[in-house]
Amino acid sequence: MDYVIYIGNLIAIYATLAISLNLLVGYTGLISIAQAGVYGIGAYVTALLALNVTHDLLITVVLSAAAGVLVSLVVALPALRLRNEYFLIATLGFQSIIFSVFMNLDITGGPNGLYGIPHAQLLGMTFKSSLAKFLLALALAAICYVLARRVTRSPFGRLLRAVREDQTAVSSLGKSVFLIKFTIFVFSAIFAAAAGTLYAYSITAIDPIAFNLDESIFIITLVIVGGTGSLNGSVLAAALLILLPEAIKFLPIPGLIAPQLRQIMYGLLLVFFTRFRRQGLIGEYQDVLR
């Protein structure tokens, strides 16, 4: 039973990550592959605070989100000047630098990472059981979903789509494209970092591998499979892509090649959807990826 709840926890965390990235990819047309890096910043800041200062949930979430935003701005400032391929490659660069920092610093524990992270506390409650952790992750995913829905349906959301469709037109109306992109970057980073906080608390041990390039590609796969510009799609894709490998565990496949098979499956999905169904499972437009 604990295992089932743990899977639910993972789905909630990845749904949050996919929604946060979809705001960039699907709504604003910014294909970033540094999301795992921002997620990792949240997880590492939380782990360091919890191990050394406090494991109060509210304080750690706020500080982790602040750190995530800060790092994200370092990424955003230069990267936002670039378009498409070059934006993607710049974020790829930042992803690798962030990973390298996790891997090499002493305070992040190097390749071993950090472990023995205490359970989160809030108003005297301790989130110790897997059920409590799951409910926490579910709450974050729900908040993220509701806020993202409100933002994307607001006038600002229309502006985001306008940036995606035609930047020049948006600037010619006197709107700052840079400021629009910047704002959505901050929003996205807050939730990616908060997902990192909950990940650190639920696993209680983190290492750099959980936040590497593969992970960033996985999050973008979630967005594309679910459908760029579809929040429901991101949630659906997170559920499907986490559950699928679990289902495969019941097939008679040697355990040694299971991780490779999972990767191949994700790779195939990415290729299939970019080739045959660019709107994803339930995407808004076919031509977000064009």
Binding site: N84, Y86, I89, G93, I220, Q260, G267, R278, L289
Partner: protein, 295 residues
């Protein structure tokens, strides 16, 4: 001073490795405008095909190179035919093909792990290499060979693109595929040729690099692709010679940097250079000004 010379020389060796992979990558980019990350997957598969012919079947060094080259060429051609061409025909931009390409890289790397195992595999038992002394630096025959190949191939490709009809046609098509077709160029065939040549090159490179390092593994395509990307961007896009030069510059900076900075920061330094170049000199160090970057 001699320490610096040694670091610099090591940089040239590393740079040759990056240049060899960046050459095929840039050739394919020039023709198709796709950032063909799956090139790294082709690199890994070719290395293991060469290993199978040379070590497993014991057919010798030449057979190893032939197997790696043929498998690389066919695989590159297949990826273009099955994935990129249909996407292009459907009006999908090279940018989406680039994202697809990540998927292919993941698929190929993990297929290698399933077929040949996920542990590092010995391609050539090193250890007995003779060490030569060139002025202040020490080197091995394998290192000199790899530098030689990288320089010769880079020069040959540069001449090819500059002076031959085929090379100029491929460049023209990369600039404007529609226009090239209007004036009667067989653009599909030109792209196929570029994929075959670029991928055959990466097959040769995979064997050369594998023999120098001694060990190959299923993940080898990922890191080398990242470095080839950095090399191509800092060299200058759409220009094969510039990409190779970018590879050498990257190798030298990486290795001279570890003279003063701990080597574990090598990767971070490379990407910091990438970002600086993207920001301040998007046409690359050796590329023509006014390339397609930026807005």
């Amino acid at each position: 001073m001699s320490a610096f010379a040694q670091f610099f020389f090591n940089g040239v060796v590393a740079g040759s490795v990056y240049a060899l992979v960046a050459l095929g990558f840039a050739l394919i980019f020039t023709a198709s405008r796709v950032f063909h990350f799956a090139h790294g997957g082709v690199y890994a598969v070719s290395a293991f095909a060469g290993y199978t012919a040379m070590v497993v079947l014991g057919m010798g060094l030449l057979a190893g190179f032939v197997a790696a080259t043929v498998v690389g060429a066919l695989l590159g051609l297949a990826i273009n035919a099955v994935l990129y061409e249909p996407m292009k025909a459907g009006g999908v931009s090279p940018f989406v093909a680039m994202i697809s390409s990540f998927g292919v890289l993941i698929i190929l790397s993990n297929l290698v792990a399933i077929i040949w195992g996920s542990n590092p595999t010995v391609l050539s038992p090193g250890g007995q290499a003779t060490i030569y002394r060139l002025g202040p630096v020490f080197t091995t025959g394998a290192q000199l060979r790899i530098i030689g190949f990288a320089v010769v191939l880079a020069v040959l490709l540069w001449i090819f693109f500059r002076y031959t009809r085929l090379g100029i046609a491929i460049r023209a098509m990369g600039n404007d595929a529609e226009l090239a077709e209007v004036v009667g160029m067989p653009s599909r065939r030109l792209r196929d040729i570029s994929f075959v040549v670029g991928s055959a090159l990466v097959g040769v490179s995979a064997m050369l690099i594998g023999l120098t390092v001694g060990i190959i593994d299923f993940n080898m395509g990922f890191d080398i692709m990242l470095m080839a990307t950095v090399a191509m961007i800092i060299g200058g896009l759409g220009n094969v010679g510039a990409a190779a030069a970018g590879g050498f510059v990257l190798g030298v900076i990486q290795n001279v940097a570890i003279w003063k900075i701990e080597s574990k920061w090598q990767l971070a330094i490379s990407f910091a250079i990438l970002i600086l170049v993207l920001l301040f000199r998007p046409s690359g160090l050796f590329g023509e000004r006014g390339s397609a970057i930026g807005q």
